[in-house]
Amino acid sequence: VTEALAIPFVATTPEVGEEAAVESRRVGGLFLGIGLALFAVMGLLGLAMRFAQGDAYHLSPVWFYRIMTLHGAGMLVAAMLCQIGAVWYLLRADVGLRARRAVAVLALMVAGAVTVLLAVLAGGFAAGWTFLYPLPFSGVGQWGSNATAAFLMGLGLVGAGFQLFCLDVLLQTTARFGGLARTLGIDYLRDRDPDPPPPQVIAAAVVAIDGLITAAIGTLTVVALYGRVLDGRVDINPLWAKNVTFFFGHSFANLIIYLAVGAIYVLLPRYAGRPWKTTKPIVYAWLATLVFVVIAYSHHLYMDFVQPRAFEFISAFASSAAAIPVLVVTVYTAVMLIWGSRYRWTLASTLLYLGLPGWLIGGAGAVIDSMIPMNFRLHNTLWVPAHFHTYLLLAVMLWAMAHAAHLLERWAGRPARRSLALAAPALMVVGGYGLVGTWFVSGALGIPRRYAVEPFDTAGYSLVGALFATVFAVGFLLLLVAFVDLALAGRAAPAATPAPAAAGYRPAVLDPPGQLPVQSSRRLSLLAALTTVTLVSVTPAGTRVAEHSIRWHHVAHTAMFLAGATAVMTAAAATGRGRAWLSGDAALAVAIVVPVVFMVAMTPRFYESLEDDAVLHAAYHAAFFLLPGALMGAAAVRLGRSVGWIALLTSAGAGLLYAAGVSGG
């Protein structure tokens, strides 16, 4: 055990090693500490709901649904914070992530959580964290448009924090490992790279790419609904809204799990004493996951028979096929690493181990529900919270606790006390599986989810679930006792500073030179052609097309945005300059803020009064579409070949999707 604790956890070159070690411990610890504290508070709210459903006391439905909204949104933020912290801590060994950007991520996400809290507690917002349109605008006297605006703003801030994290991860990994194809292991698959990145880097890059797509669609959802707050004439197609909302919600929750997996790649080998190396099956598995995550969400719309049939069947395939990378590669390899390894059992490694079956059992529940005839009977029954609590509570959160325990056991220089290291996980496993077990049974029986008062005299199931949840809470309390004990021990006798670099690790490149998004002359001409085509939107002919319908109007605005961006990129590529036009931080800020600006500007109240005046109308187009586009182009140039293109394409894609679903005015 002592041996496992002594393995240097940040293995970079001696010059950056110690500094990076302290930095990663602080950043990781900060995220995990705040994440676990939020988890504890939201867990108590969950307990309060379960006892109320079990008829143990009276909670008014109005407050039940407020708490439910808060519990859902808060738990997702808590789990995401924990896993961002864990990944940051582990990735910092290989990749030059920036601490101040991590602090900005934390600040954005915490500000978002506080805003959501205010929307619910002060504004009475209770449309559920899934906020399906038009419910946020139909509070029946329980909340008003200010509360809806605050809730959307809170979610927007959380999304922006996640987007910043993904941008920084992708920037630093692609810079460190030389481009996207190498970072994702594609060059290794094609036998062009004998020395692929470690698996946690591939995992983090996959999560970051899917995360940027998810964040763009999240921004789109929030902006579209916010437009409706600003102007009641904005009309949103409910089916479109359901698609984008569930794309965002499903993918965000799903990516938390995949972030956590990256962390397992690093921690598990330390306790098993065997290396987790990148192999071709790992690369195939993550490339498959990259695709499965973004095409699986439609299972939330199985019972919308008007949803295009192809979406449903693609989702049925992706939802079950997503289990293959997990079962054939990740968990399979984890088991191989542990088998006959004289695994070092500490509090951290026990929690790490216990999360693996939680992931599989929750996944089994998910795959069963992803079969359409099964979903016909299980959709929105208690089967749903059953399966996602299994992998979020009994896998992702156990891993977050494992991570905190890992940090603290290292800090103390000794493992947690044996009694606590056995009792805390045991109580959490018994309580946790009891809780989700009652939900699975209730779901199969057809009891609906999200009922303040359980129907058909079924409150007994909730009471049993609540008692099991209490057992879980006692286990968590014992875990906190173990944490305090370790923290005190660490303060009394700080553990030795990390040992020098482990062999085989390469130094992190702290200031990557980066590359312009466009380098070959063929690509330059393609870009120039794209600029010419999109510039048609500002010509009289383009304006005539835009007047055809509100949809074409939004398409034209997006084309203007794209024209501004590609013009700047063409100029940068032609002159070979442009890297210095924006600083790295400014480019990140532009990539996050500009899509919001140009989509909000499409709200009728901002442009309607300008339409009669040709000069003002032209100025509006220049200020809100061409200029933001140009800024985005400059940001794309600064963000480089991989991230620059992804940032540009996701924002322009969001603009086109906006055109598909939002009308009115």
């Binding site: 209770a126 449309a127 399906l132 038009p134 419910l135 139909s138 029946v140 409910p238 089916l239 098993a272 065997r274 099956p281 019972m303 028979f305 008007v306 449903e312 069947f313 049925a316 079950s320 096929a321 289990a323 293959i324 079962l327 054939v328 399979y332 191989m336 542990i338 088998w339 006959g340 390894s341 059992w345 079956p357 599989l360 089994a364 529940g365 795959v367 069963i368 992803s370 359409i372 005839p373 099964m374 016909f376 009977r377 299980l378 959709h379 929105n380 029954t381 089967w383 049974v441 779901g443 199969a444 057809g446 009891i447 609906p448 009922y451 303040a452 008062v453 129907p455 005299d457 079924t458």
Partner: protein, 175 residues
């Protein structure tokens, strides 16, 4: 109404229990093995050989699950039978017919007058028949043959606001 298990979800629950038992047993065995010292090369050799078969087995299971989805999807419904118009509104259901004859085939044409709702249908024995969403501006059609005498219950299966849990309705089927 007192709820009873329908055959499809109980099959799902049994499948889950079996899988959980297998997973739990496997992790107990792995945990016990971790006390021993087995050379990693040997573990890897056996593991990699077995993995191909494991992959083939799972790929077959995925094909099977997708086939079940395609064959068993309730989407073909919407033809044959008298159309009953159903509108969900915060917080109640309106049906243009509430009395039906035994063995009658009915097509429920479901929509919403305000926010998203879920039309969850339970037969008189308390078995869940299935659910379909009620979305404003769209009509989802569900075919059902009413094979039980007694009162069918409708419960809202999409969260719709502070009285969501009270959004229940029923209709009568008689001989």
């Amino acid at each position: 109404v007192r709820l009873h298990y329908a055959s499809t979800p109980i099959a799902g629950l049994i499948a889950l229990c079996v899988l959980t038992a297998i997973i739990a047993a496997m992790f107990v065995v792995v945990a016990r093995s971790s006390r021993r010292d087995v050379p990693f090369d040997r573990v890897r050799d056996v593991g990699y050989r077995a993995r191909r078969w494991w992959f083939a087995l799972l790929a077959t299971a995925v094909v099977g699950s997708v086939a079940l989805s395609v064959v068993g999807a309730p989407y073909a419904s919407g033809s044959g039978g008298r159309v009953v118009h159903v509108v969900g509104r915060q917080f109640g259901w309106s049906l243009d017919r509430t009395r039906f004859e035994l063995h009658e085939s009915v097509v429920f044409d479901i929509t919403s007058g305000d926010v998203n709702h879920g039309f969850g249908l339970y037969d008189p024995r308390g078995e869940m028949i299935g659910s379909v969403q009620a979305m404003p501006g769209y009509h989802n059609r569900l075919s059902v043959t009413l094979d039980q005498v007694g009162r069918y219950t409708i419960a809202c299966l999409e969260f719709c606001g502070f009285d969501h849990h009270l959004m229940l309705a029923s209709f009568q089927v008689s001989r």
